[in-house]
Every structure is written in C-alpha cells, then in structure tokens.
C-alpha cells in the first residue's frame, strides 16, 4: 500500500471519528473582524449551525476544527502555532477569507500574507468576507459531508457551452 492510499484511509477514519458532532475553535491571525462577524452569524437563528451538530468552543483543547481568519500577522505566529499544537488530533484547519488565502496583503516584514505559510490548511474558503452560507459549505466540506464543487466549476463561459 502506498502513501497516497494510506493518507486517504487515514483521512476517512479521522472523518468517521468526528462523527456527527464537531467542535469549532475560531482563530484570528490578524483579520479586520468582518470574517468574525460572519462567523458569529453562523450561531444566529437563520443559519443555526447547531442543527448540523457543529458547536463553537472557547478552548482549542476542546476543538476538532480550527477556523482561521486573517492575513497571518507575524506577531501572531506563536499564538497560531500554540493553538494548532493544543488542538488534539485528529484535527482539521479551515482558512477563511481572502486575507488568509493570500489575497489583499503581500508577504512582508509584518505579515506572512497567507495562513498556510504558518500551519497546514485542509480547506480553503474564499470570499471577502465569505458569506455564512459559504462558511457552512466550507465546514461541511472539511468534515466530508459535502463534496467540494470548485475544482470542476468552469469560469469560462465558452468552455461551458461547448462541453
């Protein structure tokens, strides 16, 4: 059995360990707080993320999934790494927002410009800010309850018409 197969099996097993209840810790690596306001809306009655078995937790040690926003400011390196190490395995990391994905800010003296320069990321959710619906989809993709759609999506109108 090669490494690829092993990795796929390990991923499937860790997803089954998450089961139908998952605790989420949000981590701000230097964002403008708009991503946070969208995350907060997930708990509001309209989106009600508890109906899906997802919960927010205030401690990384109780979390299964880290929701990381912001442009990975270098001053937050230690906090981000500590939070990542404090989260028990198996864990998933979801980077949200254009800043966390490498948009908006270039890497410079003060910030890395992308979260995956600091910690490994499992799922990327674009948007500025991502809508709560997009965040929900990102979370469900991360725990394997929805298929990701963007890799097969066409952004050329002609390609769609000929295909």
């Amino acid at each position: 059995m090669d490494a690829q197969q092993l990795a796929a099996e390990l991923r499937a097993r860790s997803l089954s360990l998450f089961g139908r209840s998952l605790h989420v810790r949000t981590l701000d690596s230097g964002s403008c707080a708009v991503c946070e306001s969208e995350i907060r809306l997930l708990a509001a009655p309209h989106y009600d993320l508890h109906r899906l078995g997802l919960f927010f937790t205030p401690a990384p040690r109780h979390a299964d999934l880290l929701l990381v926003s912001g442009a990975a400011v270098r001053a937050m390196d230690l906090a981000v790494r500590k939070t990542y190490e404090a989260t028990p395995d198996p864990k998933a990391v979801v980077a949200i927002g254009a800043c966390a994905l490498g948009g908006v800010y270039e890497s410079d003296l003060f910030l890395h410009g992308a979260v995956d320069e600091v910690i490994p990321v499992d799922v990327y959710v674009p948007g500025c800010p991502p809508s709560p619906l997009a965040l929900l989809q990102g979370l469900l993709v991360a725990i394997g309850r929805l298929e990701e759609r963007v890799s097969t999506a066409r952004f050329d109108l002609r390609e769609e018409r000929t295909a």
Binding site: L52, L101, V123, P126, C128, A153
Partner: protein, 111 residues
C-alpha cells in the same frame, strides 16, 4: 404570548442550506466569469490593472483568475463590459489551493 403568535405567523426562518439553497443567495457578491471569445490582450491588461486584490493576472495567452484572492468587489464588471459577468457561485470551498486558480484562454488576441 405575543412572541409565540408572531413566531407562528413568520414560520421557520432557519435556512435549509445543505439540502436546498436560499433564493437570496443569488444576490451575493461573487467572483467573475469570463467570455473567452471576447477577451483581448488590451482588455485583460485593463482588468489586471483594475483588480485591487491582484486576483486577475496574465500568463502568456491566458488570463489567470485566483478565486482565493478575489474579494468580489465588482470592479472588473465595470471594466470588462459583456466579457465579464458575475458567476453567481458562492460555494467555493476547496481542498487544494491550486483548485482555486483558473486559467481562461485569451481567444481574441490583439484588437
């Protein structure tokens, strides 16, 4: 008692999202989609200059759209006219960062 009656009148407000999508989601700001037959080199250069998030780039004979960087600000719609339209797609979560980078050929060449 009033809150109960009000609740009955408004019904369930919670979204049914993973099963079906809310209708208002169509109105969300979304990244652009391109008509490659209408793309010229000049237009692509104008789009690259107009994009504040460096989401639109150019590589040889193709426009490179990085969805991860796109902030859906809509400035490319003003510059691009008919060649650039909203994609209407907000479910953009990706497992690989490279899945978010789309290459669109420039078919018209120099105008």
């Amino acid at each position: 008692m009033l809150w109960f009656l009000r609740g009955l009148r408004r019904g369930v407000v919670t979204t049914r999202y993973p099963r079906e999508c809310d209708r208002w989601a169509q109105a969300l700001p979304t990244p652009p989609r391109f008509d490659s037959e209408l793309l010229t080199d000049e237009l692509v250069q104008a789009l690259v200059d107009a994009c504040p998030a460096r989401a639109i780039g150019r590589q040889y004979r193709a426009l490179v759209l990085d969805l991860g960087r796109c902030t859906s600000c809509g400035r490319c719609y003003e510059v691009g006219g008919e060649a650039v339209v909203p994609s209407g797609m907000f479910e953009l979560a990706a497992r690989e960062r490279t899945d978010l980078v789309k290459r669109i050929p420039i078919r018209r060449g120099y105008a």
